[in-house]
Amino acid sequence: MILNEQHFDLTLKRLSHQLIETHNDFSDTVLIGLQPRGVQVLSQLKQILETALNKTILCGTLDITFYRDDFRRREKPLIPSVTNIDFSIEQKRVVLIDDVLYTGRTIRSGLDALLAFGRPSSVELLVVIDRRFRRELPIQADYVGKAVDTLTEERVSVEWREIEGKNQVILFTPKEGHE
């Protein structure tokens, strides 16, 4: 177990406060969650932020399936999900949101996909878990929930109240099963 329910909620609160520190009232800022798992992070952060600021925040979801660099290197083609960005990102400060930052390749695809929608004034990255020392591309997050050091064989699973029943982050190691 990396984050239990209590710590998970605290982490999300801290991340939202960090966002408020840099983005003040979010007048120029949009949040974009990467499909599929970044969207969960987005919806929880949106809730916290909207309660704290008492206003609606522009949010979108981005599907990166067709921008991946591992198409045809996988056994099966990936199933695309929905992109929903019904506003202009031109001259906006964009915060990309995902659950786990690992090799950095997903974020690279996300940047490509995002730029097909226009030219934002800046792009930042927020992740719940940063698996350090496993990067294959020079990409770092601006907001990190928790940084962990992991082995390649291990798997980090971020679970959500709405889907798995509990907000928690678990590290799976192949030999022992649950840590």
């Binding site: 599907d63 399936t65 067709f66 921008y67 991946r68 198409f71 045809r72 290197r73 099966k76 083609p77 990936l78 199933i79 695309p80 999900s81 929905v82 992109t83 490509d112 097909a116 929608f117 226009g118």
Partner: protein, 309 residues
């Protein structure tokens, strides 16, 4: 289920219902992409596709070309009139020469039924059939069914009548397979001479009265009278055909419900369909064209996923 059960798209006959539904759900994503300001994704940037058209085509070729370009594939176009086919080269030789230049996928239209299957058994590239004679035209049937699904919410349980030259039509055959696999009821309607004798073994109803057919159906797919494929006269005159089987606004107004009118193009205005119907509120002809690009992107994308590196 996120992979097609086939390696080439020769005909709808080889597809399963799951395949068709996978193509549709992928096409939904592509339809979203082609309505964005930047209509292009980089998925197939390392793939080369040859479009071999041994028979004339405008719509299908442009549609395939756009689909390939929007997936960032490299493409080469070939039409029989400007090639060595005129000098007597065989189909296999032509294709093998093109493949020797490292082409991964071939989209082919050919006047001979079975040409696509013949090729798929002999060359390593992925083949997409863009119409082989009077046999099949799978992507047209897919986009027709996709358009019905979009307009009416589903294909399952709908009643579709295909009107016109069933005998010479590859669109009709592919449509029958596709609609039946998706759970629709199919009827064919036309002059006796243009309906194949034992078509009822495909499980379709046959009707020779246009009024009755239209009263039965939810969707009417009107086919073009293919004058170029008719070496003998199948009906006395175009005028008589129009009187008996032409869709006009007065016959549509006489129905108790609104039906959807489709046409795969090119339209012979004033023959199988009048201008006011083709441009009117029943027709979804231009939606079919738009969906054609999305559906062809989906098919190309899914088949390209099976190319080995």
């Amino acid at each position: 289920m996120n992979n097609l059960s086939v390696d080439n798209l020769i005909g709808i006959k080889d597809l399963t219902r799951e395949d068709i539904e996978l193509i549709f759900s992928t096409a939904d994503s592509f339809k979203q992409i082609i309505n964005r300001p930047i209509k292009k994704v980089p998925s197939l940037r390392d793939i080369t596709i040859a479009n071999l058209f041994f028979e004339n085509s405008t719509r299908t070729r442009i549609s395939f070309e756009l689909a390939q370009k929007r997936l960032s594939a490299d493409i080469i176009n070939f039409s029989a009139s400007a090639s060595s086919v005129k000098k007597g080269e065989t189909l296999i030789d032509t294709v093998n020469n093109i493949l020797a230049m490292k082409v991964d996928m071939v989209v082919m239209r050919h006047p001979n039924p079975g040409a696509a299957k013949f090729l798929s058994e002999r060359v390593p590239a992925k083949i997409i059939n863009a119409g082989d004679g009077t046999h099949e035209h799978p992507t047209q049937a897919l986009l027709d069914a996709y358009s019905i699904r979009e307009k009416l919410g589903a294909v399952d349980g709908k009643k579709v009548v295909i009107i016109g030259d069933i005998l010479h039509s590859r669109v009709a055959l592919s449509n029958i397979y596709c609609l039946q696999k998706l759970g629709a009821e199919v009827m064919v309607c036309g002059p006796t001479t243009l309906i194949p004798k034992h078509i009822d073994i495909l499980g379709v109803q046959v009707e020779h009265n246009l009024q009755k057919a239209l009263e039965w159906c939810d969707v009417a797919n009107v086919l073009r009278i293919q004058l170029e494929r008719q070496d003998i006269k199948y009906f006395p005159s175009l005028r008589e055909y129009t009187m008996l089987f032409g869709i006009n606004s007065s016959i549509l107004e006489s129905l108790e419900k609104d039906i959807v009118v489709m046409h795969p193009g090119p339209i012979n205005r004033g023959v199988e369909i009048t201008s006011d119907v083709a441009d009117g509120r029943h027709a979804i002809i231009l939606d079919q064209v738009e969906n054609g690009v999305a559906v062809r992107m989906a098919v190309t994308y899914l088949l390209a996923g099976k190319i080995e590196r």
